[in-house]
Symmetry: C2
Subunit: 211 residues, 2 copies
Amino acid sequence: MTTRCTGLREQKKQATREALREAALRLALARGPEDVRVDDIAEAAGVSPRTYNNYFSSREQAIVAAVTADREARVAAAVAARPAGVGLAEAVVEAIVAEYTDPGEPARAALLLVTTHPTLREAFVDTATELENPLADAITPRLADTDEHTARVLAASVAAAVRVALRRWLRPAAPSPSGLVVPSGSLPDLLRAALAPLEPALDAAAARPHR
Amino acid sequence: MTTRCTGLREQKKQATREALREAALRLALARGPEDVRVDDIAEAAGVSPRTYNNYFSSREQAIVAAVTADREARVAAAVAARPAGVGLAEAVVEAIVAEYTDPGEPARAALLLVTTHPTLREAFVDTATELENPLADAITPRLADTDEHTARVLAASVAAAVRVALRRWLRPAAPSPSGLVVPSGSLPDLLRAALAPLEPALDAAAARPHR
DNA sequence: GGATAAAAGTGCGTGCACGCAAGTTTGCGT
DNA sequence: ACGCAAACTTGCGTGCACGCACTTTTATCC
């Protein structure tokens, strides 16, 4: 055993993880998220309750994971896939926006469930934190000095900005002091707006500034 | 009741909060953090265990709060206090570095306790998140367009960078692939290094770029 | 191919976070 | 000065996260 377990082992692990995610989401959609016990999820997935806890450290995490799937990996892959010529900021922003745009009909109901329930909202926002590591790995080779730590800081900042955007998106139209209620625009717009302030930092650290 | 409760009420609340912090730290220093029960902290502070939970949502949070006190407010105040002429990036960096430098002897033992124990380390790192709101309020008036949301993003990014620096500081000399172990320098240096990549973003958004 | 080590699953016990519905204190209006 | 409403405290009950020790499964090495 050195670095990679490509065998049946990892395969089964992903299978149970997905079974748990799916079971959690299905039950939450059926009875509402508050009336789902951990034991129910475990039983529906065919594992022990203790095993459930080896995969997810909170009930909400399991439900939300069914919606977010492995978004982090896809974002990281998308950033890595962009040609080296394009600016780092643009690459990151587009990768994230693409990943967070409406995934189509099936997930619609699940997303409504998540956005409706406050506890799930917070868990959903927190999933953006998991972007940090994959994103750091993806942007490291694009930096001027291939500095591990700079990449970490930038990735963490991007993740933080995404969280801000998500919170704003989920905040149901806070009344402004001027009396107007801003209807908090579409998620892609909010993401672009939240990431815009970070673009100078990203391009300043990038290998070849985009102009 | 409008906005401020300046009376005896708020005063007592802060008193119990401090009593809980102090009790938690004292007990943790005495027996080690693992052997401190929530009931003990509550009893030592003279409140019910349930009340303890109204102030802190985890045991670690109470212990760590004794070390961090109300650091967030001081950082925000320090940023607000810097003259308007100086660059935003410099103001923020100096305020944070100043706040995270060695506070002197008394807290030394407590900090050792926190850095020693893994569970407390994580809680300690997480306290940096609380910088977000006060910091956002402090930098809002210094922006070119007094945009609430830009300030939020920048503050969240700064907080994220601080967390990265703290994690790196607490990481006990990870062995590098080249065989060398880097002794992970002093905290002020790490903070400056972590915040450096964000400086372009901060100064780009600032009211008057510092040069 | 069987022995052996690593890893995942499981049962149990403990401490804890938190909702809820009282009881108690504080502050304000008249 | 009195009383009322809001804020804080408390006890209780429930579900849950997680450490620990143990069993079962999987991968590797001779």
